[in-house]
Amino acid sequence: MGFELAMVLGFFVVSGLALWALLFVGRFLRLRAPRPEKLTTYECGELPVGPAWFNFNNRFYLVALVFVALDVGVAAAIPLVVILREAAAGSGGWLVFLLLFGFLLLLAVALAYVWKKGDLRWLRDLPAPECAPVDTGRPEPKP
């Protein structure tokens, strides 16, 4: 164990030295062309729009969750078919079909629930919030 840890220490030392050496050598080799654009966020003249800290519309979050329900269907169906390929080709075809169909039916329940609850519509009315909005101390995001 002691030797293994010595290796780790060696890695730390060598990587620290290498970093320092590369920066030091680069100092002599590179051109010097300071420009104000290089100090901006993307360092190339592309200006960022608005602050990074703002509230995302939580409809995106709902859509992402609905996507998960459909995504799981694909993610589980394909391995199932691959594993049971022989059974599906033989006499067990109906069993595999029923297995997969039952699973997709369960996912359809999720879809039916979201649909009926109206969460698939992008624009929808919501009841007024029951508690006062929290003051985050940050400026309101621009729409």
């Binding site: 164990m1 329940v109 039916a112 629930y113 009926k116 029951e130």
Partner: protein
């Protein structure tokens, strides 16, 4: 190992619960009339739980199938060893289902959960019960993790179900703590798998002590992995130092959910911890001749004992200044996690039986205490200690019930709590050695400390005058009746504990 068809039959309780949960989700979307939902949702939930309990009894019959009842070598396992259906699993599955029944009954007349969201609410309770059923039978670390997450996700949602802002805050806090704890546990599991290439619980012992012997680096990594996994269990059972979420979550959650959280996930966490500790510490080839923990693994016992002592001491000391009954009961439940951990340290068949017995008793008395809090909250709109002032005059029934539960939680005779504590201490001291004696002394000192804050509530109820402005009388309602039934049960189990003790012994039968 059971074949696939028997496995499906053993899974029946979870399937029934899952189907009813799905039905409740759909019904909450499609049932428009509020009056229909008022009886349909709790009715469906109760019918689903009753059906699950009946099918659970059927699985008990299946365990005595002729093809072998050898749970020790992974005999009672289903689905290629993923789930174990031994007496321990059956016993704790029954307990969590009964706790869910109590939570449904407590919710029915409660103002806490908005009527419009009750379909999802009951559906989530059932989904959580499915998770707990899988958790107590998990026999594979991956299954264990998935089941633990299923329970946790439902708990976070249910904690935030109240309309109050405090409830949402509690849910978020719980989710953040839980996310960290589960990430740590998963990290530990990944180390374990990287070291040994196996996640089967039956291989735990051989991984640590099998041949070839581990190099110092490997065994150090294995210890770290085990401690990380232990942190995940500690979160689920709310043991110090993983307990910080507990008082906030209970305070913010709707009272029926606080009642459910304080018993069901905790007990299922204990069931799976027992299974884990047993598989790690015992050599399954010859359990009779070996000590509970061989010398190389004694540190694990010390770690669990440290968790136990810390949970008892900090839980009880922190409960003393609490004026909110739900927070007080939260700290008391942390302390009880410590008491129950004593049984895990005690180990062997007696220790497991003691944890099962105390778990069942704890379920009855803690649900009862929360039922009284729910009844008082419903009448006065407050769960503060002030709302309990003079309760003996305003509602003698509730006050007497609460007194029974508090005495039982302290562990005084003639209540069931006394019997449970006797079994715990006896199982701890039977093994001998210095560790059990130290832990037992800590436990006894803590029992005395706990008497102080339970007695504060007794004093408020029986000796102090009622606060002005509170209702003169509190009529008994559903929660009150549940509390009365549980109080009778607490007293009855304190005197007539033979059958329960036998059941507990049976649940420990997987150690043979």
């Amino acid at each position: 190992m059971f074949g696939n068809l028997v496995s499906m039959r053993l899974l029946a309780p979870a399937v029934v619960l899952g189907a009813v949960a799905l039905f409740l989700f759909l019904a909450s979307a499609f049932v428009r009339r509020r009056e229909t939902g008022r009886w349909l949702f709790p009715g469906a939930a109760l019918i689903g739980l009753a059906a699950a309990l009946v099918t659970l009894l059927e699985t008990v019959r299946l365990q005595y199938l002729p093809d072998g009842y050898n749970c020790l070598l992974g005999g009672c396992t289903a689905f290629l060893g993923m789930l174990a259906y031994d007496p321990l699993a059956v016993f704790f599955q029954a307990l969590v289902m009964l706790a869910a029944v109590a939570a449904v009954v407590l919710t029915v007349g409660s103002p806490a959960v908005p009527q419009a969201r009750r379909g999802e609410y009951f559906g989530l309770i059932l989904a959580m019960t499915v998770g707990m059923c899988l958790l107590v039978s998990a026999n594979h670390l991956l299954m264990l993790y998935v089941a633990l997450e299923a329970v946790s996700l439902c708990s976070y949602l249910l904690t935030g179900f109240d309309a109050k802002a405090r409830s949402a805050e509690a849910g978020l806090k719980y989710a953040l703590y839980g996310g960290v704890a589960s990430a740590v546990m998963l990290f530990g599991l990944s180390w374990w798998y990287g070291l040994f290439g196996s996640l089967n619980l039956q291989s735990l012992h051989f991984c640590m002590l099998g041949s070839p012997a581990l190099s110092p680096g490997e065994s150090g990594a294995a210890v770290v992995a085990l401690l990380f996994i232990l942190a995940g269990f500690g979160f689920k059972i709310a043991a110090v130092p993983f307990h910080q979420w507990c008082p906030d979550a209970y305070e913010g959650a709707p009272t029926p959910i606080a009642a459910l959280l304080s018993v069901a996930p905790k007990l299922s966490g204990f069931a799976v911890l027992l299974r884990f500790a047993f598989n790690l510490l015992f050599d399954p080839r010859d359990p009779e001749t070996l000590a509970y923990a061989p010398a190389q693994l004694e540190w694990a016992l010390w770690a669990i004992a440290a968790l136990s002592a810390l949970s008892m001491t900090i839980g009880n000391l922190a409960a003393i200044p609490q004026n909110n009954l739900k927070r007080l009961l939260a700290y008391s439940s942390i302390a009880h996690a410590g008491y129950l951990l004593m049984g895990v340290v005690g180990g062997s068949q007696g220790g497991i039986a003691a944890v099962s017995l105390y778990g069942a008793v704890y379920l009855v008395m803690n649900l009862g205490a929360f039922a009284v809090v729910a009844a008082v909250e419903r009448a006065t709109g407050s769960e503060d200690l002030l709302a309990f002032h003079g309760l003996a005059k305003r509602s003698p029934l509730l006050a007497v019930c609460m007194a029974v539960f508090l005495l039982a939680l302290t562990g005084l005779p003639p209540t069931a709590g006394f019997v449970g504590k006797v079994y715990l201490f006896a199982s701890l001291l039977k093994g001998g050695g210095s560790l059990p004696v130290i832990l037992a002394v800590v436990g006894i000192v803590n029992t005395v400390i706990s008497l102080y804050f339970y007695a504060r509530v007794l004093r408020a109820m029986f000796l102090l005058p009622p606060e002005p402005g509170l209702p003169e009388r509190i009529a008994p309602d559903g929660a009150g009746l549940l509390a009365a039934a549980l109080a009778v049960l607490t007293l009855a189990l304190g005197v007539f504990f033979g059958p329960l003790a036998m059941l507990a012994e049976w649940s420990a039968g997987f150690v043979r």
